[in-house]
Amino acid sequence: MQLYLPIADLPVNVFLILAMGAAVGFVSGMFGIGGGFLMTPLLIFIGITPAVAVASVASHIAASSFSGAISYWRRRAIDPALALVLLIGGTIGTALGVSTFTLLRSLGQLDLTIALSYVVLLTTVGALMFWEGLLAMRRIRRGVPAPRRTHGWIHTLPLKMRFKRSKMYLSVIPVVVIGVVIGFLGAVMGIGGGFILVPVMIYLLRVPTTTVIGTSMVLTLFTMLFATVLHAVTNHLVDAVLALMLMVGGVTGAQFGARAGQKIRSEQLRLLLGLLILAVGIRFAVELVIRPTELFTIREIGVNE
C-alpha cells in the first residue's frame, strides 16, 4: 500500500515503513536504547532527505522513550533529581543543535555534517563497545572479577548535589555538560543518544545500573519532544505521517525486543550492539569516500508567484 508523505514529498510503502519501525523497535527494546542511530540512517537509505529523517525521527524516539519511561517509573527506576539536572543541559543543547541544523542547511552542508557525525560518533562508540564487550567476555571465561573502579576527577568538581534515588553525591557540572552534548547531538543527528548516554552515565558518573536506563529515557523523551517542536517551527521538516508509522511499528517491535534481550547475557548484548553501531558508522564512511554517481543536487529555496 502506497502512501504519500506530505513533508518528505515522497510516496512510500506503508508496510516497509512499519516493518522498519518494528525492526528498529525490536533492536531498541533489546538493548534498552531509543534506536534513532539506526532509524535515521535507514530512512536516509530509502531516499528520504537527511533533514526530514532527522526531524521526523525525533518524535518517533519521543514515543518509544515515553513508553519506556512509564514502565521504568512504575518500577521506581528513575532518578527525578538527576533527570531534572540532565534536562537543564539537554534543553540548552537541543536549542543549540536545532539552530546549528538550520545554519548548516542554509549553507548546504547539512547532509555532509550528518554523515560525518555518524561516521565519527558511531565508529568510535561502536568500536569502544565492541572492545569492552570482548574484554568482559574474556574476563568471565577466565573467571576474573571485573576491575574495581576508583572515583575519578569528575568527583572532585564543585557544586555537589545529592541524588537520593541513585544514592550519589555528585557535582552538577558534568551532569549539565552531558545533557548539553546529548541534546545537541540529538537535534543535529536525529538520535536520542541513549547509546552514548547510558555508558557515559555508568562509567563517568557512576550512576547505578538500577536507575541509569530509566533516567536516560526521561532525558531522551524531553529533548526529543523539544527537538520535534523546534524542528517543526524553524525548518518545517517534521513529517507527522512518517513519524506516526514509525512510532506504531517502533513501540510494537520494542516489546518483543525487550523480551528477546532478557535471554541474552549483558556482555554479549554489548558486543552485538557495538558491532551494529560500528556497521552503521562504516556504511556512512563508505558512502562519503566512494565517488557519488550523481555529483549534483538541486533544492528549491522558495516559490515566488
Binding site: 502506497q2 548546504g108 555532509l112 517534521v238 505521517v241 513519524a243 562519503l288 555529483l295
Partner: protein
C-alpha cells in the same frame, strides 16, 4: 451578389486580418481536458490532453502549408539551487553552487517534429525552442545571466529535473489528427508542484512563427496529506506541538497495551 453584400464581406475580412495582425490569417483554438487538476493522496500521475484546431480563413494562402506546432507548459516559478560535490580531504562534499532564479518548477516542451526541422537554429534560440534554448537565469555572484547550454550546472540542473519527470522534451508528442486538428498529452507526475501552469501554443510554418495562443490550468492538492503539509508550513508551532502530543499518546497507549505482561 449585390454591392452591399460584397462590401460587408470585405469589411469582415479586413477586421479579421487586423485582429490577428497577420496578412495570412491562421487562428489557433485550443482547450485542455481539465482546467483544474486535483492531486489526491493516491495520485500516481495523470495526463492532461490538449486539443486544438488551426482555423484558416479566406485570407490564408490557398496552397496547403506544412504546419508545425510547439507546446510549452511552464509550472509555477521558483529559485532553485544546484550544488556540486567535489573531493576534499578524501571525502565528497558540496562545494560550488549556482542559483537558478525564477525558473519553472515544471517545464514541458512538446512539438510534432524535432526543433531543428521546425525552425533554423537562430529562430529556435530566439523562440526558446527546446530545453537547450530555454532561458534559465542563473545568479553568478552579483550577475544574472543565462549561460551556454553545455554549462556544467545548467546541464546538471536540466538532467536532474528530467530525471524527476518535471522537465520534459518530446518532439513527437504533438500529433496531427487531420492537417488542421491536433492533440498532445501533458504528463503530470505525482510530485508536480501545485500552482498555475501556463500553456503556450505556437504555430510555425516554413520555419517562421505564424501565430500563438495561450491557455492555463491549475494544480491543486487536496486530502489529509496536503492539509498536513499546509499546517506544517503555516502553523509550525501548533504542528510541532500536535506531533509531540501524538508521540506521547502513542507511547502511552503502547505502555497500556503491553502492560499486562
Amino acid at each position: 451578389m449585390n454591392a452591399r453584400g460584397c462590401f460587408a464581406i470585405c469589411l469582415a475580412l479586413l477586421a479579421a486580418s487586423f485582429a490577428t495582425g497577420e496578412a495570412n490569417a491562421e487562428r489557433l483554438i485550443v482547450s485542455v481536458s481539465n482546467h483544474r487538476v486535483t492531486v489526491t493522496p493516491n495520485y500516481s500521475g495523470e495526463e492532461l490532453v490538449l486539443f486544438g484546431a488551426i482555423e484558416r480563413d479566406a485570407a490564408t494562402p490557398a496552397a496547403p502549408r506544412a504546419y508545425d506546432l510547439v507546446v510549452t507548459v511552464a509550472g509555477p516559478r521558483a529559485d532553485i539551487v544546484t550544488r556540486r560535490k567535489e573531493r576534499k580531504f578524501g571525502i565528497w562534499v558540496n562545494s560550488d553552487y549556482r542559483q537558478f532564479v525564477k525558473v519553472p518548477t515544471y517545464l514541458a516542451l512538446f512539438a510534432n517534429r524535432p526543433f531543428d526541422d521546425i525552425a533554423s537554429a537562430d529562430v529556435a534560440r530566439r523562440q526558446q525552442l527546446g530545453l537547450d534554448n530555454v532561458l534559465l537565469t542563473q545568479r553568478i555572484g552579483p550577475d544574472y545571466a543565462d549561460v551556454v547550454p553545455n554549462d556544467a550546472f545548467r546541464s546538471a540542473f536540466v538532467r536532474l529535473q528530467l530525471q524527476r519527470g518535471l522537465y520534459r522534451e518530446d518532439t513527437s508528442a504533438v500529433t496531427f489528427i487531420t492537417p488542421t486538428l491536433f492533440r498532445t498529452g501533458i504528463p503530470l507526475p505525482a510530485q508536480v508542484p501545485i500552482g498555475t501552469y501556463d500553456v503556450e501554443i505556437r504555430l510555425f510554418a516554413n520555419g517562421a512563427l505564424v501565430t500563438r495562443t495561450e491557455t492555463a490550468f491549475e494544480i491543486v492538492k487536496v486530502g489529509f496529506e496536503q492539509f498536513v503539509a499546509n499546517t506544517a508550513r503555516q502553523n509550525g508551532l501548533l504542528y510541532g506541538l500536535v506531533t509531540a502530543a501524538m508521540a506521547l499518546m502513542t507511547g502511552w497507549i503502547a505502555s497500556l497495551v503491553f502492560a499486562k505482561d
